[in-house]
């Protein structure tokens, strides 16, 4: 009898465990603002004229950015006003792309609002039919939403053939952060404007016993930061007007050798595996005197609790071959779109309209984001928490910037990996002949991809 009861209890436990295992959902992190009522499908009971989508649950597939943190903190305001429940699913950058790809390829019905990287993914996602055309939604949103408030380049990079597919969320520029104390010790109070002078500064820092600069050296991750140095030599990835790859040009090889030399001689030992987190850690823990990376990460260095340099950070524009050839990148790093397979497109647009409204955009910038809206930058309160030196660098960089930091093409990911391999070879000290030969091969690969895209 006892044995039978024991067996019965074990069976029940196993079945319950199995059922709960079958019912689990994906995502690394999911938060709900309020108790959800319905997921997917149409609106249910509880909707009214002023809350037409009440009862709907909208999923937001996103990465970790200050803007998303601002939205999560204020989401109850939106949920109370509309009756829509919002679920945030947060992933690492590459995992986010994978999640979108896998779900979208299966129809995209599980996706509503998605965050994506317009330069790398705009053309690819649109050509695959994964993103909803937002023109009609923007039109009905009218003057209050003011879509034209976004900068020209931001609207262009999130559109195709004049139609909008994403709303720009986060902008970034390549800049240099530096430790004011270390630079002052070697007689500098700003970043030099030319590459030669910059190398002189690195030499002086090295002689003083410091590691001069933290740079991204992990191939794929390094491509975007390498781009500022490439543009400074007058080079580029592709000629967007003619559709010609420019990877076998003298300027490209020169830029590779320069960037490779900076990494090999003036960066810490682990540079070949370094992405933005490593360069940020090096800088905040005083392992390096300077850091060349995105300005959107500036707040980590100013965090009193975690940064050793919070009170001694200076900012500079990335140098060029000459002072006039300085051309850092200034891009829309993230944009927000709607999955073409979503069952809640209208509710998703309600969320995007609120999340990217002038009010929320301003609040996000006050809390550490860098916006693509002109009105946000024009409001003085948006930059009162941003260091004055950084504002100056952003304004200078914006005036001379290139609006992309990687090959802007449909097969951007494959091109980026191939160029990353070139950067790795340059850092490992490949001879010029070998580097040129590999550049020629990569150029052929990228040109073949471009030709097949243009033929479609």
């Amino acid at each position: 009898m006892k044995k039978r009861m024991f067996s019965a209890i074990l069976c029940v436990i196993m079945v319950v465990t199995m059922m709960s295992g079958c019912g689990s959902s994906g995502g690394t992190e999911t938060t709900k603002g309020t108790e959800g009522t319905t997921t997917g499908g149409d609106t249910t009971q509880g909707s009214s004229d002023d809350k037409p989508y009440a009862g709907t649950t909208v999923s937001v597939l996103c990465a970790s950015t200050p803007y998303i943190e601002t939205l999560r903190v204020n989401i109850s305001e939106f949920e109370e006003a509309t009756g829509i429940t919002v679920e945030f699913d947060q992933y690492e950058n590459e995992q986010l792309s994978n999640q979108i790809a896998v779900n979208a390829a299966a129809g995209g019905t599980e996706l509503d609002v998605v965050l994506y990287r317009p330069i790398q993914e705009n053309l690819s996602f649109i050509s695959k039919g994964w993103l909803e055309n937002l023109d009609s939604y923007i039109e009905t949103a009218g003057d209050e939403y003011d879509y034209m408030d976004y900068t020209d380049s931001a609207r262009e990079i999130t559109s195709k053939d004049g139609s909008a597919y994403g709303i720009p969320l986060v902008t970034e520029r390549g800049i240099i952060q530096y430790n004011t104390e270390m630079l002052a010790e070697v007689g500098y109070d700003s970043i030099p404007e030319t590459y030669d002078e910059f190398v002189e500064l690195c030499e002086k820092l090295k002689e003083a016993g410091y590691t001069p600069i933290g740079l991204r050296g992990e191939g794929n991750a390094a491509v975007t930061q390498f781009s500022s140095f490439l543009y400074g030599f007058g080079g580029d990835f592709i000629d967007l007007e003619t559709g010609k790859a420019l990877i076998n040009t003298d300027e490209f090889v020169e830029a590779l050798q320069f960037y490779g030399m900076l990494c090999a001689e003036y960066s810490p030992d682990g540079v070949l595996n370094a992405g933005w987190e490593e360069t940020s850690n090096w800088f905040t823990q005083e392992q390096v005197a300077m850091r060349a990376d995105c300005d959107s990460q500036y707040s980590y260095a100013l965090d009193e609790n975690n940064s050793l340099v919070y009170d001694k950070v200076g900012y500079g524009v990335i140098p060029g071959e000459t002072a006039d050839s300085r051309s850092p990148f200034s891009i829309v790093a993230w944009s927000m779109g709607i999955s073409s397979g979503s069952k809640n497109k209208e509710a998703s647009w309600e969320f995007i309209k609120w999340a990217t409204s002038k009010e929320m955009d301003l609040l996000a910038q006050q809390e550490g984001n860098f916006s693509a809206r002109n009105s946000t930058w024009a409001d003085e309160s948006s930059t009162e928490n941003v260091p004055a030196g950084l504002i100056e660098v952003i304004e200078t960089s914006n005036a001379i910037a290139v609006p992309y930091d990687r090959p802007y093409m449909q097969n951007s990911a494959e091109a980026r990996t191939a160029i990353g391999e070139l950067i790795t070879k340059a850092i490992e000290g490949a001879a010029e002949d070998e580097l040129r030969a590999t550049c020629e091969d990569v150029n052929t690969t990228v040109q073949t991809l471009l030709d097949s895209e243009n033929a479609q």
Binding site: G219, N220, D269
Partner: protein, 293 residues
């Protein structure tokens, strides 16, 4: 009806398993073969066009594929070779311990039960050339430091060391189970005949354990061929392509470049390689059963 059920009772009981295998194993394989013969890039409006064996032929001409293939095989042979020697040695040593055997065994098994991704992240930190503990220890001992995962020259060996640390316990566990199953008679006879410890190990213990060791090694080889978590969480195949194996390469083709057709073709080639090892396992198992019975 009742007679029919009684006559076919064994098929009826097997039916759920067969349906399960067909749905969850056979169908995905057939679908993968279909996609591998197309150039589908995951577009929703895109038709799945048939291009025959073009993807396979392109891989046979691709240097990157052959480099990944070579890395996959050499990683497997080197890592499993060392794991075999260490696993057997540790199992033999533990079998000599009479007290607190459970605690000792548990400690040795801990690396194997940890999540591969967590192991990868931890070792990535330990391997860091600037702040990692390995270079700190080497510096303290006056030895030259290494770039570990940060250099194309040392990344391969660094990943193998990590694999050895994590999976030697698996071979150790299987060999230990084999040792526990050996009788005492032959060892007592050997002792009476004057055999020393070394002779006992090499002339009696190891030959008797040969079937168990071979099974453990072949099973571990099939796993090692498919290594993904440790490499993805540490280097993602880098620096450049220098730690890219077939699994990482197929992941990149599928989820970074969205070349599903090519990724599926690569996975079918990979499937055949793993199948070859699995068949080797079955052949070896039969041979051992005949030889030692």
């Amino acid at each position: 009806m009742k007679r029919w059920v009684n006559k076919h009772i064994q098929h009826i009981f097997m039916a759920p398993t067969i349906i399960f295998v067909l749905a969850l194993v056979t169908f995905p394989i057939v679908y993968t073969i279909r996609i591998s013969m197309s150039t589908w890039t995951m577009g929703t409006a895109e038709a799945i066009d048939f291009v025959g064996l073009r993807n396979y032929v392109e891989f046979l001409k691709d240097e990157r594929f052959w480099n990944a293939f070579g890395r996959t095989i050499s990683y497997t042979l080197i890592a499993v070779g060392v794991e075999m020697v260490l696993g057997v040695a540790i199992a033999l040593l533990i079998s000599k311990i009479k007290k607190r055997t459970n605690i000792v065994r548990t400690v040795f098994l801990l690396p194997m039960v940890a999540t591969p991704v967590a192991v990868g992240i931890l070792w990535k930190l330990m391997y860091d050339p600037t702040i990692g503990v390995f270079n700190m220890i080497l510096s303290a001992l006056g030895l030259p430091t290494s770039s570990w995962l940060s250099s194309s020259d040392s990344v391969f060996s660094s990943l193998i060391i990590m694999d050895i640390w994590e999976w030697t316990p698996m071979i150790m566990l299987m060999v230990f189970a084999g040792i526990s199953g050996l009788g005492d008679d032959m060892f007592e006879s050997a002792k009476v005949d004057g055999a020393n410890e070394r002779q006992t190990i090499f002339k009696i213990t190891l030959p008797l354990l040969a079937p168990t060791i071979l099974m453990a090694v072949l099973l571990r080889m099939i796993d090692a061929l498919k290594t993904f978590d440790q490499i993805y969480s540490t280097t993602s195949g880098g620096p450049g392509y220098s730690s890219e194996n077939l699994n990482i390469l197929s992941y990149r083709y599928a989820f970074e470049y969205f070349y599903m057709g090519k990724a599926c073709a690569l996975l079918m080639i990979f499937f055949l390689v793993v199948l070859a090892f699995a068949l080797l396992y079955l052949v070896a198992k039969k041979w051992i059963e005949r030889r030692y019975q």
